[in-house]
Symmetry: C2
Subunit: 928 residues, 2 copies
Amino acid sequence: MMVKHVFSFLEGDGKNKKLLGGKGANLCEMTQIGLNVPPGFVISTEACVQYLEAPNGELPEGLLDAVKVHMADIERATGKKFGDPDNPLLVSVRSGSAMSMPGMMDTVLNLGLNSQTLHGLIRQTSNERFAYDAYRRFIQIFGKVAMGIPDQYFDETLDAIKVRAGAISDVDLTIEDLKEIVELFHNVVEEQKFRPFPEDVWEQLNIAIKAVFNSWSGKRAVDYRKQFNITLDQANGTAVSIVAMVFGNMGNDSGTGVGFTRDPATGENKMFGEYLVNAQGEDVVAGIRTPRPIQAMAQEMPDLYHQLEELRDRLEKHYREVQDFEFTIEKGILYCLQTRNGKMNATAMVRTSVEMVNEGLLTKPEGLLRINPEHLEQLLYPGLDPNFKAEPLSQGLPASPGAASGKCIFDADSAERIGRAGQKVILVREETKPEDIHGFFASQGILTSRGGKTSHAAVVARGMGKPCVAGAEGIHVDTEHRLAIVGDRVLHEGDIITIDGGTGNVYLGEIPTIEPEFSSYLHTLLDWADESAKLGVMANADTPEAAEKARNYGAVGIGLCRTERMFNAVDRLPLVIDMILADTVEQRKEALNRLLPIQRSDFSGILKAMAPYPVTVRLLDPPIHEFLPSEGELEVQIEDLRRLHDTARLTEKNVESLKLIDPMLHSNYMAQRQGLPAFFASLDLTLIDAALAKKELMLQRARILKEVNPMLGHRGVRLAVSFPEIYEMQIRAILEAAADCIKEGIEVHPEIMVPQVCSVLELEYVQKIIDQVKKEVEESHGVEVNFKFGSMVEVVRACITADELAGASEFFSFGTNDLTQATFSFSREDAENKFLPYYQQQNILPENPFESLDVKGVGNLMKLAVKGGRSVRPDLKIGICGEHGGHPASIRFCHHAGLDYVSCSGPRVPIARLAAAHATMLEKSYDK
Amino acid sequence: MMVKHVFSFLEGDGKNKKLLGGKGANLCEMTQIGLNVPPGFVISTEACVQYLEAPNGELPEGLLDAVKVHMADIERATGKKFGDPDNPLLVSVRSGSAMSMPGMMDTVLNLGLNSQTLHGLIRQTSNERFAYDAYRRFIQIFGKVAMGIPDQYFDETLDAIKVRAGAISDVDLTIEDLKEIVELFHNVVEEQKFRPFPEDVWEQLNIAIKAVFNSWSGKRAVDYRKQFNITLDQANGTAVSIVAMVFGNMGNDSGTGVGFTRDPATGENKMFGEYLVNAQGEDVVAGIRTPRPIQAMAQEMPDLYHQLEELRDRLEKHYREVQDFEFTIEKGILYCLQTRNGKMNATAMVRTSVEMVNEGLLTKPEGLLRINPEHLEQLLYPGLDPNFKAEPLSQGLPASPGAASGKCIFDADSAERIGRAGQKVILVREETKPEDIHGFFASQGILTSRGGKTSHAAVVARGMGKPCVAGAEGIHVDTEHRLAIVGDRVLHEGDIITIDGGTGNVYLGEIPTIEPEFSSYLHTLLDWADESAKLGVMANADTPEAAEKARNYGAVGIGLCRTERMFNAVDRLPLVIDMILADTVEQRKEALNRLLPIQRSDFSGILKAMAPYPVTVRLLDPPIHEFLPSEGELEVQIEDLRRLHDTARLTEKNVESLKLIDPMLHSNYMAQRQGLPAFFASLDLTLIDAALAKKELMLQRARILKEVNPMLGHRGVRLAVSFPEIYEMQIRAILEAAADCIKEGIEVHPEIMVPQVCSVLELEYVQKIIDQVKKEVEESHGVEVNFKFGSMVEVVRACITADELAGASEFFSFGTNDLTQATFSFSREDAENKFLPYYQQQNILPENPFESLDVKGVGNLMKLAVKGGRSVRPDLKIGICGEHGGHPASIRFCHHAGLDYVSCSGPRVPIARLAAAHATMLEKSYDK
């Protein structure tokens, strides 16, 4: 039995891409749902494989006979005849395999043209120039694809004529030029192939089919399949689609255009597109004529417009998705040449989802699933007005999304001062440090010239939801002279700049920004998402303001409140430093007692902003040396102070430099100076000596506290084991804040979380402190304070011994950043700066595990922890609070691992809500 | 029914320590195996509990009656009578619970003495002084224990008499003094208790029994049980043993002594001990008379000596262990008062094991099990001659065992020079760095004034098997002035010192050392061990010499050969630095090509030394910045060179300082200077400029390569992913060395091991390099090179994805040091310096997991890896090469986890061999 190799568009199975290729199947589907597709047929991929395997290089037996039968069908359908000099049928011959391989294989248009049929085309289109242009293009493409003549021979000929004719582009060529080119192209073929260009249209077709088949095993295609790991199982051979050419340039009852079934910019349910009367697609591309909006067709060609609206309805009903389609009208007949899903911006995606669900076209899950959660990011940060064109001054890394404008300011203190005065500020630094944190609060955005996406600036800015461009290496920041140099341009402090954290661009001047819109459509969509999602979405937030924002994004609690962020604020850091410098427990407690009311008021504000949702407070995590300036900085400060001391007297200039060396000392000095001008010198020395002594103590302490691997150092609960009084103060601040709220009648749910836990005995150690403090607070405040106690799970051993940990934890929260570092033995900063790029390049780790959770390694550890924890405490609440908590693929994993919630930075909450819904809906198709 | 509370030594169950206490059960056992124990009986712990719980404070009903019955038995056996003024029976009343609680409860001797029986004792012993001394002691101890009179009242009285008599110690007191003391002690009792000292011996006994019972709930005992976690389940109540006193001072047919059944110093099968005729044990303690060696008894008291030999045989046959026993001879009758297992040094333990097995007294497993593997350490390192007494000059940490003497030298270069000249050297540094490695090779031992047991000096010295004392903080090293200051003593370079790495002591001058003896007994023992052990024992060794040594210790291969140790050698470091400074791949390859022959010859030497056992070579592991001096050092060197440049000329003094700044530059200079005195100045500047340029480049590179967390940084296979040419060179050196050996007819088994693997794709990446190099080497050498390819398993993700890794590995080797760091998120250096002491103190981690493998966390990960790996490759060879590989408890875990081998530093190989045998033999009792 002979296998069927050729399928008309009416009979081919539109779902069988393996047999018919993507393009062939698509044409069949379009035809069979009643769209008026130009008639044609597909030769199967099986025929291709058979041909390529045949030892004699012949097409499969009977294939050409079948092709002839189908060509006759096309002739009948179009009323044209293949090779007819009067009314010639022209066809396109297109490749197409099961997997899209754009540009890798060949396509021939206008096949069937020869010196005879050319004149039929001229007559039919009344457009001699068009016909000759099509002819010369056909000769070149056929010569190259089917006969193997390199492009360069044709291009050189064409260029010679263009030079002679003074033509800048192809459209400047006259009909006479084109005729001569046709002539010369024929010569090229004869010279290169020692035979004339085939006049026989059947020979043309035969050669073209073979050429398309052969292109499957061409170097380009083979390399492409290798690079993208396309296996024979996914695609084997290319199909060939042969389609009647239709022409939109056959008079005023003809035309061509493109359309979207809905507005891709706004999502409005209204056809969108443009068209040209009596024109071919090439005219639009060449820009010779300006197309008109599609709505104009209602007047110009009302009947065809009606057909177009029918087409649009049919497309949406069938594809259940906004379609981007191409059409040609040949002599009053509308042909649909191609359709595919329309690409839209996030605004349009959200609106069309909501409306298509409301119209009954989609179910809610379909409406949710068609939106990639990451796509929502566009809607959640201010962006630059796309209508405003500007050249970027420089570019860095897009480190935290959003756009912002403001005066560039080169240090955090000034940023704070100017920001407080109500001006917009962009903090510009070589790199930022924890002690710059007050500058972040006061700025619209942050720009650094050094550091990557995980630099201090990037991480903190993302946490605060502020735009940040990091590592803009083209910018040389000169803090001393209060300027920055960008190429040969100088930026003075106070100049206005704009940064776009979504692209990394930096602009001079103020560029208008568009505020994010949290439209009613988005609200509806996310409400639907919440209905499906099993995972709750909480936010990481460290201040009452951030908590407020997170609520607006739909967070149902705070999954991570980092207390060290509070320690870094400018009014607290000196107290923290006193705590670090303490020689005795008493001194340390004294400093902590001064911190207590500040922390208490922080917690109180956050609890109130989130009430009645839970607020998970993580006790102090980083090693305490992070709160000291670096050794190098201290050495410089000490040298400066010594020099100042040696001058023995503060001149006005010295006073200014004192401000740079030690702002605290400066403000003390300014306070003392009030009304005491006569005693300058004597006062100064005392002050300076005191400052010097303190700095020297700080340096000494910094040297003692220095660690080889701070990531694995003296931090988290390890601090509590050596200095229990720190956690004691923090626990007291939390419980007192909660007690105060309860007395005000506010329902609060604090949760106390211990970081860096590796053994249940650490939890029991902290629990003892808590029990004592709880008793004292309840007695002094006269109310009962309920809270949960739990463990960060970010140390590998915590995962392995989760059953034990669960005995002392009411909840687990995975810290997947640290857990990933420990699982891979990768220090994130070092890895991203030094070797991860090589790993990605070599495909050893195609995805950065700090961005996308490593399911195989880290994920399996998490599953062990979930299993271990729940084996002891079945109702154990489990969540994730690392950056992965806002990453859709990771959220999907968390869903399957049985977590209860994810927590992410505020602006990613909507993304996470949608991703959580996706995870539920895609449950069955999860295969990891 | 009345419960039986009192058991004679003839009827008590010698195994029932819970009921009879350790001491009581022991006395019963001794009696029942036919030893002549003084007659006596035990009151059970149950009686104690019943007494302590009784509300009325009365002894259990019938107890005293039973005691009287048993006292009558004693009277019959001894022919003495309790309370008889002529021939009085005296008894000891001793406490003893199921768990040993030394010194926590009370014992009363010579009970039964009163003003009447005293005279009987005098008559019997003909020793009035002895009797009065015993009486005054009895009054004091009874007064304190049974009547609750504080010691101080008695002591003050005694002291007053001593002062008056001009007596320095108790033995200086005359009989008259003692009589007065007895008088006065009676007064003390009356004054304190308003009653006379009890004359009635039954009252004495009654009170004493209650007092011993009560001591169980005394504060001392309760605290002790709390501290050592002794539960009621383990021990509840104390028993009371009542034993007839026997006296060795009843004439020349009496005596006392102690003995060992074999020589505890040598293990020789010969009774060892000493005795005194007509004396009590106290006489030995007081040092009044010098005891004689036990063999002298053969002449002096041949019959008794014969009895003693019988006793010895009986003891060994019964206890099947060398016994340490006490005896007393009263009027020609030998009594055995006590016996316990003898404490011996390692030499004796080994010899007695071998001989007792050969005698048929023990089975081989018993002979092996009685030796603690750690105990062998004594035999494997030189130690200080214990006969030589000296005061240590200072003390540090015992960082690497062994003792050594030599001239103290303050830098590695000088150490190398002087060491090569054949002199013994101790390298003395504040702390050591990788660039000091050549100094280690040349030295007998290393002494540092900073750093802990895991400092560079400690780790490297342990690896080399050289003694090291680290962190001797009392020593202030002043390299510049070539001296060290210890308190007010100055140590000049060249002074001889001795260090003892087993104790941490540092001595001035040379102390004789004893070389380790690898006796034929030890060989026999370890051969037996190898017969039982399932785990193979390999060694970690990085040089041919170390490989040779390891073989002698019985290693059956090298489990870890660290190639970076070779990189640090002084002739190679400059090449390594060139490699680091390379700007292009070509430059890097050029430097590597110069390293290739050196590495090849290293590998060749090691392979030959170990042939035909396997040699596992780990490819480069540390981050390459470790091969550069620190930034600080480079900054100083650069400043020095600049200054030198400014002087524009090298004076002789400058030449000397040049040597300190840059030894390479110095030696270049010295070479050039040969015969060219006239051109000094011009030559120097060129040289200095070149050196300066290089140092500046090094500084720049050091800054670029600096890492935040080097432990988790750009190291191991990550280096190969970015710079494949490094591994390529090392692989080529290994395979060429192997090929050369094969051509010489030597059977070699190289194994190539990749460090820091986290993904199978890394292994496949290296495998590709290997395939290529193997092909080239086999072609150029004309022989086939067989080897194994495998993975270090030291990254958590490697454990989790072990099934995948096993697809590309023929063996796994656990690196448990790094694995422990990653599992706990503890940086070892930071942890041991900063917080682990707190963890140990708080009992959160009672054992340092870097010393004893953490079975619960790290161990479970290892088990996962073993299971995963073997699921894919059932014959996967699995070992461990971290420091834990030489730690007995960890070896036992490895046995149970199904490992094939352990690898440890050479001198620990014998320990590991014994521990591996123990693991097999103790298989059933493993409970983790």
